[in-house]
Symmetry: C2
Subunit: 252 residues, 2 copies
């Protein structure tokens, strides 16, 4: 594969607790940042309810048009944990009890009241799946085809990402630089547009803020190429300097 091929992933956040507003999602940002390091771009995210048809439809649409599809949530032991069944249905695979997952859970629950039927649900995987280690709670993540099934609890999802680090084929990591400036973004909109247009392979994002009674903005330049990134950043700083604006190289 060429280094310039763009690898993409989608994420499905599964869970009524996000849609009801009870829980503030933390997995989108966490997965996004981790993917940047793997050279994979998070292209789209969906949050869906604990409803099989909704999960199946989202899984089949997103796995087809991305290199990878991640899911978070719905792999616990309770009645609303239907992710494995829904993904197996989407893939047209049976659900089986994975022998290694069962052994891991037996060990984990040996001193915690034993492996009940409900707990055994966490060893169920779509047929042909591999496990992703989770040294925190015993219940593993699951990798099947290009679908990666992770826990919804953010620090457990983080451990699963850690176990996957360097395991997925990707492109060059996305890198970024930030330029801060005490200016209203609306005053420099033309400069931002022209600078971005002049530097192929670079995107400039503008993140305004209001602080200490003054408006300012951080401009984030992103690229997969260090030289292009540096050239675009230097050009933006030069253009802001020309109009008499001080810039702050690591943002404000």
């Amino acid at each position: 594969m060429s280094e310039d091929r763009i690898w993409t992933a989608a994420l499905i956040v599964i869970g009524d607790e996000i849609l009801s507003g009870r829980t503030q999602d933390k997995n989108i940002a966490q997965v996004a940042l981790w993917l940047n390091l793997q050279g994979i771009r998070l292209a789209e995210v969906r949050v869906v309810a604990d409803v099989q048809d909704a999960i199946v439809a989202a899984v089949n649409e997103l796995r087809a048009r991305n290199d990878y599809l991640f899911t978070t949530g719905g792999i616990g032991p309770t009645h609303d944990d239907i992710t494995v069944d829904a993904i197996a249905a989407a893939l047209g695979r049976d659900v089986i009890v994975h022998p290694k997952a069962r052994a891991v859970l037996e060990g984990y629950y040996a001193s915690r009241g034993g492996l009940t039927e409900a707990r055994l649900r966490m060893a169920r995987v779509p047929e042909g799946a591999e496990l992703i280690e989770n040294r925190m709670s015993g219940a593993p993540g699951i990798r099947v085809g290009n679908v990666i099934i992770m826990a919804g609890v953010p620090h457990i999802a983080a451990l699963m990402l850690e176990a996957l680090s360097g395991q997925l084929e990707g492109g060059r990591p996305l890198i970024s630089r930030t330029v801060g400036c005490w200016v209203a973004e609306s005053e420099v909109a033309d400069i931002l547009r022209e600078t971005e247009a002049a530097h192929e392979g670079c995107q400039i994002g503008s993140y305004p803020f209001f602080r200490d009674g003054t408006v300012g903005a951080n401009f984030v330049i992103r690229s997969t190429d260090q030289q292009r990134l540096d050239a675009c950043t230097d050009d933006l700083v030069a253009r802001l300097t020309v109009i008499g604006r001080e810039t702050f190289p690591d943002g404000i």
Copy 2:
């Protein structure tokens, strides 16, 4: 309309800053909680990039199957703010400068360097749209058909929601009660499933945690009917008490 009709909304979060992981989204939870109070259920969320085709496709799919579609992000003055153009394209409407929005922005920027061409972008709306007041920054939100276009900055989006409170037709608000218990959710999975099945119109969510060296869970019962909600909650408490578990009425 019957009180039992379920009103739904979808949310599209627009912005590369969310997909890159730079910004932690706060609008999903905020919109969800506000919708609960309006008697509208947040049914699905998508996060899409600042790419017109992606926005158009999501807008047309979600506005067709929900009573309301909210968007956040992409309505500022810079080159990456393409939400209004994308939504107008999705609706097959022209983009016009709204006279009242222009007047509001002229007033706001009178003492801030004047209304530049970039700033005037924030007065552009799909033809036929109404404005949603924003007393913080001048730039208004937009309501067009069943689509509600809001700012990405969470505290500005909050002001737009406040301006919309009580303005949208909905059903009965979703209400909830929480029961906390120092128990592994896997030990009570059967009780949760059976209790939910015994109480029509109620859903039980299970939110486990690990604290002070012990596992516990909060069980959240949701319904639009106070009597059903209370009956389901009482039943769950009774079933947990039977197996010797203490419960905490406002969660742990």
